[in-house]
Amino acid sequence: MKRLNRIAAGIALALVLGSASAGNDYDYCLLCHGANANGNYGIRAPKISGMEPWYLARQLENFASGARGVPPEDAAGHEMGPVGWRVKTEGSLEGAVKFIGTLESRRPAPTMTGDVAHGKTLYAGCVACHGAKGEGNPSVQAPALAARSDWYLATQLANYQKGLRGTDARDTYGAQMRAIISTLPDEKAIVDVVAYINTLK
C-alpha cells in the first residue's frame, strides 16, 4: 500500500516536473546536506561529499527500498527515506552519486570530544574492515570513517546499537555492522571511538 501511494505521488511529480525550469535537480541534495554537501548539523544531515560512490549508491538504494530509515525513532532517517525513493524513481541514483562526486569535500571540524586513548583500544575491533586509518575497504564494502561528520558517526553507531539500522533483511552489510556493534557496549564507548576516529587522517 505504501509503495502504491509512493507511485501515485511519483506520477503527480512527473506532471509538475514537466514545467520545471532547467537546472540541476540534484541541487536538492545541498538543501539538507549543506554547501558542497559538507553536512549540516542544524538539521542533522551528514556530510556526504567525499563518500565512496558505491557506498552512496547502496545507501540511497536502502533508503529508496525502505531497508533503512523506517523506524519512527530514526527521525533523520525517515526524512531521507522518501527522498531516496524519489531520487531513484524520478532521477537516477547514478546521477545523484555523480553529482556528489563533483563537490568540493572538506574535512569537517570535530564537534565531539572523548577519551581518545580508550577510543583507540576500541577501534582495534574496527580495523579489519574500516582500515587502520579509517580509510575504508571497498572489497568488504566498508566505507571510510575518517573525515566524516563525527556527530553522524555517533548517531549511526547508536542506531545500530538500538536496532534502528541494520535490522532489515535486505541490508546485509548493515546486518554485519550490527553484529559487531556489541564491541561498543555503551554511549561512552561510542563517544570515545568517534573521538579517536577524529584523529585519523
Binding site: M1, K2, L4, N5, R6, A8, A9, G10, A12, L13, L15, V16, A20, S21, A22, G23, N24, D27, Y28, L30, L31, C32, H33, G34, A35, N36, N38, G39, N40, Y41, G42, I43, A45, P72, A75, H78, E79, G81, P82, V83, W85, R86
Partner: protein, 542 residues
C-alpha cells in the same frame, strides 16, 4: 572580517546607553578615535552607546531617508520579511535584489489552488482542488489579528482586501477519547457546563480565612456573586444548566428548555481545558481577518510592486562577510554565481543557514544550530458538500485531542456546494512527525479516521486533499523556530545583532515567530538600522 570595527559594533550595539565606559577621553575624542579605527558606522555605534544618538528601540515601520549614494542590498529569501524589506528599501533608492531558492515566492505564506505544486523534499504533491476561487487552502499563515498593525497597513497599501475570519465558534465540536467515551460535545456545552460545575463548587466552599489578603464577609459575598455570573449559577448558587450551553430544542413557539448539564467530573477528564481559552489569547481573539481569495494575496501584493526584483531558483551556498559589504555565492541552473552587495538581509531559515559556507563569528554560528525547528503539519480537504453547515457550523474550529488536533471550517464561500476545510493542524512535533512519515494517501486516511469521530460519515465527503509537513518542505525544512525563554535569553541578541553588514531576518528573529507580523518587525528592525547607519554616514538626501 573580525576587524576592530566589528568587534566594536558587537560590544556596543543596542545597549541601553547607560554604558559604564570610562571617561578618560572626552566623548568627542572617543568618537573621533572610533571613526579613525572603524569608519562612520563605528562612530554611529559608539554614539548610540554613549546615548548621543537614539538606538533602534522598537520595530515600527520606519520612515527611511532617501539615499543620495548607490547602495546595493541583497535579500536572501522572498518570504514576508524579505519582501517587506525589498519594498521599503527599493522605494528609497537602494538597489535591491532578492534571491529566492524556491520556484515560488512567499515563503511559508503559501496558498494552494488547482494545479499548484507542493514541494516536499520526498513526497511531491499537486493540488487537485476544483478550479474555483473559493477552493483554496492556506498552508501557512491563515489569520490576522486586529492588532497586527504592520501587516494590516501593508494590506491596505497593497490593495489586499480583507474579510472577517472566524476563529472561535461555540457551535463547533470538542472531542476527546478520554471523556464521554470519545463522543463529541459542542464547545459551548463544554465551556458553560465545566464553568458552572467549577463555579458551584467554589461558591459552596468559599471562606474568608482561606485568603492570604484579609477578606471581609462582604468581599466573599461579592466574590460569590462574580462566580454566579461566571458559572451561570441560579439564585441558590447551583448550576442547573444555562442557555449559554445551547438549548435542548430551538422551538421558538414554546418555552425554552435547557439542556441537562453534562457531568462536570467527566468534562474535567479532558485536557481540552488547556485549549478552552485559545480564542481569548492575544493573537487569537476576535476580531480576526483573512485576505479575500487566500493569504498569498499578501505576497502577491508585494510582488505587484517589486516582483521584478525577485530572482527565483537561486539557492545560496556561501556567504562571506567582508570588511566592507558582503559576498554571496548561489547556485542557479546548476552553476555557481557570485554577487557582492553593501548589505545582505538574510531570511534563510537558520537551521539551513547553518549548512551554508560562511565566515560568521563562532558564537553567531553556534546560535544557528541552537534553536529547534518547528514541525507543524496541516491537511486541507476538498469536501463535496459543506456538511458542517447542516450542523449549524459556519466557520471556526473544532478541537480534538487526537493527532489531527483541529478541524477548520471555511468562513468564505458559505452556502456554496463545496468547500475546502482544514482536516489537521498539529502543534505537537510528535504528531507532525507521525504524519510526515506517511505517504500523502496514508496521511489522509489517518486524518479521515480521526475526523470520523467528530463528524460521522466525514470520509465520504472527501474528494481530494493536500498535506503540508513544514519540516519536510523544500527550502524550509521547518516551521516557526521553537524559541523558549531560556533560548531567547541566551541567543536572541546574538542572532539579531548584525555581523558587519549582514543581518539575519525573518519571523525567526522576532519574539513573534510563526506570525507574519514578527517577520515584518524583523525587517523593520534591520532596515531601520541600515537607515541610521546611512544617515550617520551622510549618504542620504537632506
Amino acid at each position: 572580517m573580525q576587524s576592530d570595527t566589528l568587534s566594536m559594533q558587537r560590544r556596543n550595539n543596542y545597549n541601553d546607553g547607560s554604558t559604564s565606559m570610562k571617561r578618560a577621553v572626552s566623548r568627542r575624542d572617543f568618537l573621533n578615535l572610533a571613526g579613525a579605527l572603524g569608519g562612520s558606522t563605528a562612530v554611529f555605534r559608539a554614539a548610540v552607546a554613549l546615548g548621543i544618538l537614539p538606538a533602534v528601540a522598537h520595530a515600527e515601520r520606519p520612515e527611511l531617508a532617501t539615499l543620495n549614494k548607490s547602495r546595493k542590498v541583497l535579500i536572501l529569501g522572498a518570504g514576508i520579511s524579505g519582501l517587506t524589506a525589498a519594498y521599503e528599501l527599493s522605494r528609497k533608492g537602494y538597489e535591491v535584489q532578492v534571491l529566492e531558492a524556491s520556484f515560488r515566492a512567499g515563503g511559508r505564506n503559501m496558498t494552494v489552488r488547482n494545479g499548484d505544486r507542493i514541494d516536499e523534499t520526498g513526497y511531491q504533491q499537486v493540488c487537485n482542488f476544483d478550479k474555483d476561487p473559493d477552493l483554496y487552502f492556506n498552508c501557512g499563515p491563515a489569520r490576522i489579528p486586529g492588532h497586527h498593525k504592520s501587516l494590516l497597513n501593508y494590506c491596505k497599501e497593497l490593495d489586499v482586501e480583507l474579510a472577517p475570519f472566524i476563529n472561535d465558534n461555540r457551535l463547533a465540536w470538542v472531542q476527546d477519547d478520554s471523556m464521554f467515551g470519545g463522543k463529541p460535545v459542542r464547545a459551548r456545552e463544554f465551556m458553560t457546563d465545566s464553568r458552572g460545575f467549577v463555579a458551584e463548587l467554589m461558591s459552596k466552599s468559599l471562606k474568608p480565612e482561606q485568603f492570604a489578603a484579609p477578606m471581609t464577609n462582604d468581599d466573599v459575598e461579592r466574590l460569590r456573586e462574580y462566580l454566579k455570573y461566571l458559572g451561570s449559577l441560579d439564585p441558590s448558587f447551583k448550576y442547573v444548566g444555562s442557555s449559554n450551553a445551547g438549548l435542548a430544542v430551538h422551538d421558538y413557539t414554546n418555552p425554552d428548555v435547557l439542556k441537562k448539564p453534562l457531568d462536570g467530573r467527566e468534562l474535567l477528564k479532558s485536557k481540552f481545558m488547556a485549549i478552552m481559552s485559545f480564542g481569548e489569547t492575544d493573537d487569537q481573539a476576535a476580531m480576526m481577518m483573512e485576505p479575500v481569495g487566500g493569504m498569498d494575496r499578501v505576497p502577491a501584493g508585494f510582488l505587484r510592486k517589486i516582483g521584478h526584483l525577485v530572482q527565483l531558483e537561486s539557492q545560496v551556498q556561501k556567504i562571506k562577510v567582508l570588511s566592507k559589504g558582503v559576498e554571496v555565492t548561489y547556485r542557479r541552473n546548476g552553476a555557481y554565481v557570485t554577487a557582492k552587495a553593501d548589505y545582505v538581509l538574510n531570511c534563510i531559515p537558520m537551521h539551513l543557514l547553518a549548512g551554508i559556507e560562511h565566515n560568521f563569528p563562532k558564537e553567531f554560528a553556534a546560535g544557528l544550530t541552537s534553536i529547534p525547528r518547528g514541525k507543524l503539519f496541516k491537511i486541507g480537504f476538498q469536501m463535496k458538500e459543506r456538511f458542517w453547515e447542516k450542523e449549524g457550523i459556519y466557520g471556526g474550529i473544532s478541537w480534538t485531542l487526537q493527532d489531527i488536533q483541529q478541524l477548520w471550517y471555511p468562513a468564505h464561500g458559505i452556502n456554496r456546494q463545496k468547500g475546502v476545510m482544514l482536516g489537521a493542524y498539529t502543534f505537537d512535533p510528535a504528531a507532525g512527525e507521525k504524519f510526515a512519515r506517511l505517504a500523502p494517501a496514508d496521511r489522509f486516511k489517518l486524518a479521515i479516521a480521526q475526523g470520523e469521530k467528530i463528524h460521522p460519515g466525514y470520509g465520504s465527503y472527501v474528494e481530494t486533499g493536500v498535506s503540508v509537513a513544514w519540516h519536510q518542505m523544500n527550502h524550509m525544512l521547518g516551521c516557526a523556530a521553537q524559541w523558549d525563554e531560556e533560548l531567547w535569553k541566551k541567543w536572541f541578541k546574538t542572532l539579531q545583532t548584525p555581523v558587519g553588514n549582514h543581518y539575519l531576518m525573518g519571523d525567526q528573529v522576532s519574539y513573534h515567530p510563526g506570525w507574519q507580523e514578527g517577520a515584518m518587525a524583523s525587517a523593520h528592525f534591520a532596515i531601520a538600522d541600515i537607515d541610521a547607519r546611512e544617515r550617520a554616514a551622510g549618504s542620504v538626501a537632506a
